[in-house]
């Protein structure tokens, strides 16, 4: 067994353990922390695949920015230990059905892909320098300009929406 495979297996264990920990924690803050660990593990996976740029972005964006905001909201609302709310009657069967569909799809894809090509080829190491960054920016702003701009408008709409929803009317109370 190569050392890379051992690292991969250990990391997978950590990833699965943290994901389960996230699901089963009673306290929302602990859940959030497990999720952070999970994101960091995924970042290490990217490093293993030879993609340091994505790994670092993953840590900055997910583990750094988004999860801090999550924690912030949990703490601000004091929502660490909310009592379990009443479930909607159709929620559980629907969740079961959807999770089964997801699992079947994942397994199908795994095996159909794996049969053709088992080996994961690491990208060229030279792709990770400034050139690849430039290439990525070029394709973002040329080939994928429309999706890129649409995404930014979507984010803008979400931001404006959040502000409008929470804004207090001037001259009111």
């Amino acid at each position: 067994m190569s050392s890379e495979l051992i690292v991969f297996l250990v990391l997978s264990l950590v990833a699965i353990a943290t994901a389960l920990g996230m699901l089963f924690s009673q306290n929302a803050v602990y859940s959030a922390l497990f999720l952070v660990l999970n994101f960091v593990t995924v970042a290490v996976f990217y490093l293993l695949l030879g993609a340091p740029f994505i790994a670092m972005s993953q840590i900055t964006v997910y583990a750094g920015a988004i999860m801090v905001l999550f924690l912030f909201v949990i703490m601000l609302l004091g929502a660490e230990n909310l009592a379990p709310s009443k479930n909607l009657p159709w929620q559980k069967p629907l969740a079961r059905l959807l999770s089964v569909i997801l699992a079947v799809e994942a397994i199908y894809l795994l095996f159909s892909r794996a049969r053709t090509d088992l080996a994961v080829t690491a990208p060229d190491a030279s792709l990770n320098t400034m050139d690849s960054l430039r290439d990525m920016a070029m394709s973002l702003f040329n080939q994928y300009l429309l999706p890129f701009e649409v995404t930014s408008i979507l984010l803008l709409v979400a931001m404006v929406g959040a502000i409008v929803l929470t804004r207090q009317e001037k001259g009111g109370k």
Binding site: P52, F53, M56, A63, G64, V68, L71, L76, T129
Partner: protein, 390 residues
């Protein structure tokens, strides 16, 4: 892989940690003495000559202090938080080059722990992780003051991280690389602080907020929050927070020096002289490249930058929390965006028109004008408000 490589990595990591720990100890002394000078006091000068043994006395005192764990804290996180605060402040220094390289026992030893191609991104990711320690310390203490301190700090650090990232972008654009070694090498001719003075200034302001230093030390504003997020900590656990704060100061000065002040390189006008890092020194028959000047230059720059931080703490009042947020979002973020835009445009124009003057004159002048305009606008806004509600 060769075991000597592992040995080299481990040794270099250890040396870096030791440097930062010693730096922390003496930075506390430096700060106390400098503050005392500014406030016309003497400062600690009893332990050893000029008080040089004071840090050791402090450490002994902190070790022997009783460690209290309040009854209703969330234990795991309460113990984890100081560690989570210290670790990022140590590992962030791994990509900062302390010097070029030298030869020892026939192998080339480089003066940095890691040579990452995405070094600048590494800095942003570790900086964004650094928030957790403080937030969790505030939350796990189960204390309103600590909690408010933690929330304030997370809000503040998230807000100022955006401008920090944009300042990193300026340095990346100027250096045409995300590798800190290459950014330093690109400053051989001229430091980036001269090309983009306003950007460097914004960077220095933002770093003050990122390390929660005065005048942005809202998370631990004594009058409002007792000691903020570390109210409930005592003994060595408190010392860890203290250590993290001072190590962050050192590291952030190192990063500022690397990105805008030429890193370990000499002054740009000393290039090709005896004092250059690349110079070859001859002492009798012994001949060596002057690599050891690199760490010395970096140390000098860090000491000067640290002095500015201490100076600001001694002379500026803490700004109000809502103004802090307004300053971050309404002033620094747009300003750093415009500066990044000016830098990019300048570089592109200089390339397209084949006119280096745009790069060396245009960018500094335009960005300084923009910064000046911002200052004027803030001044007028504050004057307008002072006649109104405030």
């Amino acid at each position: 892989m060769d075991w000597t490589i592992w040995l080299e990595w481990i040794l270099k990591g250890l040396v870096l940690c030791l440097i930062l720990l010693t730096g922390f100890a003496y930075l506390t002394l430096y700060e106390r003495r400098a503050l005392a000078r500014i406030q016309v006091r003497v400062g600690p000068n009893r332990a050893g000559p000029q008080g040089l043994l004071q840090p050791i006395a402090d450490a002994v005192k902190l070790i022997f202090k009783e460690e209290l764990t309040p009854g209703k804290v969330y234990k795991t996180v309460f113990f984890l938080a100081p560690v989570l605060t210290v670790v990022p402040s140590l590992i962030i220094a791994a990509v900062v080059p302390l010097g070029s390289s030298f030869t020892l026992f026939g192998r080339e030893i480089t003066l940095y722990v890691a040579d990452l191609n995405v070094g600048v991104l590494y800095l942003t990711s570790i900086a964004s992780i650094a928030v957790y320690g403080i937030v969790l310390a505030g939350w796990s203490s189960n204390n309103k003051y600590a909690m408010l301190g933690g929330i304030r700090s997370s809000a503040q650090m998230i807000s100022y991280e955006l401008s920090l990232g944009l300042c990193f972008v300026i340095a990346i654009l100027l250096g045409d690389s995300m590798n800190l070694n290459e950014i330093v090498a690109a400053q051989e001719e001229v430091w980036f602080v001269l090309v983009q003075p306003a950007g460097a200034l914004v960077f220095l302001i933002v770093t003050l907020a990122e390390v929660n230093r005065a005048p942005f030390d809202m998370p631990e504003a004594e009058q409002e929050l007792t000691a903020g997020y570390h109210s409930e900590y005592s003994g060595m656990k408190f010392a860890l927070f203290f250590m993290a704060e001072y190590q962050k100061m050192i590291v952030i000065s190192m990063i500022a020096a690397t990105l805008f002040f030429g890193g370990y390189r000499e002054f740009w006008f000393l290039k090709d002289t005896f004092f250059s890092v690349d110079a070859v020194w001859k002492i009798g028959s012994f001949q060596t490249q002057a690599w050891f000047l690199g760490p010395i230059y970096l140390l000098l720059k860090v000491v000067v930058l640290l002095f500015f931080m201490i100076w600001i703490r001694a002379t500026w009042p803490r700004i109000r929390y809502d103004r802090l947020m307004a300053f971050g979002w309404k002033v620094l973020l747009p300003l750093s965006l415009v500066l990044a835009f000016i830098t990019a445009t300048g570089i592109l124009l200089a390339q397209e028109l084949n006119n280096p003057m745009i790069y060396s004159i245009g960018i500094p002048v335009v960005s300084s004008l923009v910064a000046l305009l911002t200052v004027v606008l803030i001044y007028r806004e504050l004057r307008r408000k002072s006649h109104g509600r405030f």
